[in-house]
């Protein structure tokens, strides 16, 4: 497979090195090379590359550009909180450290084009320059003219420059309303199982043979391939579980050729790993320690779901839950002593008949929250400042959320942001039967 990259204008051995560094991406890299042409030739103004996470987009581009000594600038759009930063980075990498000082303090696009042109005249270059914009989806949130301008930057600056956009999102979601220059689209498909096997086998442990590692990867993929195809995640899993895999070898019980025994040893651990590590619930270090200790079940992050709250905060949260999930008109029924009987079917309007739990929490006013609070809490509570401050601390903890922005002082509105399971657990600790008070469960 290796050694198939051919493109006039580049040294043979360099191309060979590149193709070694880019396993399983021969099609894409030769396509890119063809697009780029010889170093002096003009290339297509803009190329849009998309594909899932960890499909080698950035890796392929960077390796090509770096190994072939092509002038390029690479910018990750997350870092660019302002346009100025983006422009500065591009100029800095293409024209050296002095160039960025030519920009005004908060440059506009036309400033950038002007400075670019000026620099081009000063140091004309023969080779095609490349600007790589990683996470290009963020360009959409910047100035509206930015994306169209980058797409035809070649025309604007009258220089041999190509813009490469990298994103995990398809081009259709980018296209601005006003229309724009259509870039060349290039898709990076997911790696197949064999390809994953090949790539993962590359980073083998120095003290063991490559065959052993490759066998290990084979087992790993057998377990995880059905649930996870993310290269990065798989590599993480491989790193975590390899120590366990070679344990019998270390202790001398098994030799390298007895793969079946090794398989039987590792399989239950991988199954266990499937439950916890994929979610990154425990850190890799903790996972390794656990593996060493073998101390029963792994307690992940979610096992610590229990939240301690002051007594009245619990009741406030319960009241908020009731206010969020019961229609306001049913309050009479639940919280008055002599409410009379209300038949469920006639009482409510049609749209209210659907389960409130399916519709999600509804906003309620502070008054209603307090009224319900006073009726559910079993003792008399003075409306002291600390009760009110508990409401705001619940908001800070994101157990309640404040809705609406007008009238925050007079009549603030809240929503309850906890799940039914959570509130059930809370009400159990204060021995309050919340299900009795929920309209949905009547």
């Amino acid at each position: 497979m290796a050694g198939q990259l051919l493109q006039p204008g580049y040294e043979e051995n360099k191309l060979q090195r590149v193709s070694k560094l880019l396993p399983c991406r021969d099609v894409q890299s030769s396509m890119l090379l063809a697009l780029m042409g010889e170093p002096e030739q003009y290339s297509y103004p803009s190329i849009f590359i998309y594909g899932h996470r960890a499909t080698g987009k950035s890796h392929v581009i960077h390796t090509l550009l770096k190994e072939l000594d092509i002038p390029y600038a690479t910018v990750t759009c997350v870092e660019c909180v302002s346009l100025g930063l983006l422009f500065e980075q591009v100029l800095f990498s293409l024209f050296g450290p002095d160039s960025a000082t030519l920009l005004s303090r908060s440059p506009s696009l036309s400033d950038f084009v002007r400075v670019y042109k000026q620099l081009c005249v000063q140091n004309p270059a023969k080779q095609t320059k490349y600007i790589v914009l990683d996470r290009a989806e963020l360009l959409r949130d910047m100035d509206a003219n930015l994306l169209p301008a980058f797409l035809r930057l070649q025309e604007l600056v009258e220089d041999n420059v190509t813009v490469i956009l990298l994103s995990e999102i398809v081009w259709d979601k980018f296209r601005p309303n006003t229309g724009c220059f259509e870039p060349l689209l290039l898709h990076f498909p997911d790696y197949s199982k064999d390809e994953l096997q090949q790539i993962l086998s590359e980073d083998s442990h120095p003290s063991y043979s490559t065959e052993l590692y490759s066998a290990f990867i084979n087992i790993l993929l057998g377990v995880f391939y059905s649930v996870c195809r993310d290269l990065r995640e798989l590599r993480h899993l491989a790193a975590l579980n390899f120590a366990k895999f070679v344990e019998p070898l270390e202790s001398g019980k098994v030799n390298e050729s007895e793969t079946h025994k090794l398989w039987r040893n590792i399989e239950p651990h991988l199954k266990k790993a499937m439950q916890t590590v994929y979610l990154r619930e425990v850190s890799s270090v903790q996972w390794e320690q656990q593996m060493e200790k073998e101390a029963g079940a792994v307690r992940g992050l979610s096992a610590h779901g229990h939240v301690e709250l002051p007594y009245y905060s619990k009741f406030l949260l319960i009241a908020a839950y009731l206010a969020s999930y019961n229609p306001a008109r049913t309050d009479r029924r639940f919280f008055l002593k002599h409410h009379g009987k209300i038949k469920k079917t006639n009482f409510l309007k049609k749209h209210e008949k659907t389960s409130n739990h399916l519709l999600g929490p509804k906003p309620f006013a502070l008054d209603r929250l307090l009224a319900i609070f006073y009726s559910v809490v079993d003792s008399r509570v003075a409306p002291s400042a600390s009760v009110f401050s508990q409401i705001s601390s619940l908001v800070t903890l994101q157990l309640l959320s404040q809705v609406g922005h007008n009238d925050q002082l007079d009549a603030p509105k809240y929503k309850c942001a906890v799940s039914l399971d959570f509130i059930l657990a809370i009400s159990r600790t204060v021995s309050f039967d919340i299900v009795k008070y929920l309209y949905d469960f009547l």
């Binding site: 980073d203 270090v285 979610s302 610590h304 229990h306 301690e308």
Partner: protein, 614 residues
Amino acid sequence: MSTSSVSKGCFVFKPSAKKRKPSPTVEDYFTHGSENMENSRLRFRTCQSLWEKMKTDTELLQEELNRKVLDSLLEFIRKSSSSFQRGTDDWRSRMRAHEIPTAALVLGVNVPDHDMTFQSLSEQLQLSVSPFVVSLQAKECAGMTELHKLIFKDLEVFSPKVLQDFIIICSRYIEQLPLIFVFGIATAPSVIQHTLPHSVSSLLGIELFQSLSCTQHLATVIDQVILTSEFPFKLSGKVLQVLVSIFLYHDFSVRNFIKGLQLALLEHFHSQPLSVLCCRKQEALGHISKLSHQDVERIQQLPSFMRYVEQQGPQDQVELLTNDDHEVCVKLLIDLHKYHKNYYPILRCLHVLTSSLPKYPLGKQIRELHISCLEKNVWDNEEYASAMTLLRMMAKEELVSLLQKCSVILKPGKTKKMRAVLLRLDDLITRFTKSLLEMKESRRTKKMSQFEILRDEVLEFFDSLVRCHLAPPESQPLYEVCYYSSSAVLRRHLNATPRTSIQTALSNPYHYLKNESLRTEDGTFSSAAPDICIVYKLHLECGRLINLYDWLEAYATVVSAAEGKDPESADYGKVDELKHARFIQAVSELEFLGFIKSTKQKTDHVSRLTWGGC
């Protein structure tokens, strides 16, 4: 007496005032109820030194409690930063190169207590690991800002977007720039997964650290500060109950608990002139000799002293009440100190015995037992009786181990009585072990075995101990010197009720203004009250929407009556410009206080924001 009246006017005494350096003005406040400057100064100094001691002790204690989790956290950070320095020659660390080491510190819901923890954490980090520590607070990071080691307080409050972007940027530079995060989490660690998508959380190598729960924290503080004879200052059962319930019901803040304790201390020394005796025994004895005639009289008027006197013979009674020397006081004070020294070890023993019983008849926590002992004779409780019955059924091994625990508690006892108790207890334990051998032999006989006899003996012994030493402090003469008991004052200060206060002010202005002309019977209302009170009273009679004009007319009528106009005259109840202006001002004040607001439903109406009427 002018100073005295000034001090009365400034009765509300904020704890923060004490933070100032002890200036003469602060000392002046302590003249309440005492003409003797010397006495008040002494009291102030005693109070100060006692508080200093308590403060340093609690701080040490808190440091001790936090040490474990902080140490493990520091260890983690040290390990991560040293692995940065070693470089990535190791296979494992190479594979993990782009994870940012992250510590998730779960602290519990109370945010004010965390400041101290984080402060000590960042100080220790700066000292021991690296000088580059940044502590970020959510409210300071609304957008992306310039950000080496970072501590995030209260993860939940951060906007997820900002955090995600930040983590992605950091992970790009992790190979060149060693970064470690510490997240402070108030609720549950799963919040990390809620706020961060998997693509971002996979960049973090998270390790979890759980700090001590705040209830355990409180239990330790109570154990070390309140349940000890080291501090002469004590809280009565009710006061302790107020503080504990504020903690459990409202805030879970140990810091606030200690603040409350401080307030109680201050109030005690401020309001009780005899608190001058509330200090270490030697000092107190010194202070007694300096007591003035008036102070001695004050002691003689103490209810506890009166009770003590009544118990004496008639001859002694006269002597006690007329005698002006300090001998009796000295004797009683020494007795009080002895009482405390015996009380706490026995309390702990009783707690050890009862805390393992099913259903916890006397409470799971020692503070519950303490409170019930403070309130009345604990042996009169039904729970005590049931606990004793349960103890009578206890198996031998358990009982022996409990007794051994008790003997450990009693070991450091200093008083003669405690030493005697310890000897007796050790003797009983040895007899138990002996009876273990004999038991097998006597098993068949129907008689009470040796063990059963012994068990009864032990329990009777403990019962007598409890009756002797766990009597409530009220029974002790001079207990007022050390015990602070006005729970109402404390509750009023700590549990502020702004709405109730405003409503009291509006409906009963006399309560705050103390103007005799405003004094009214219950339910009636003086028309001479301030405008806002009249307007408030009138608005209570309305429904949800109030017609402003009707309101104005009613107001004018009331005000005219207050001016003493003749109800028959033509301009009675007539609105003139002045009344109109006063009315508008009063209404806008009500709006400012949040009782009403303008409404769009009807133009000439306002809507009420409170419910309920008169």
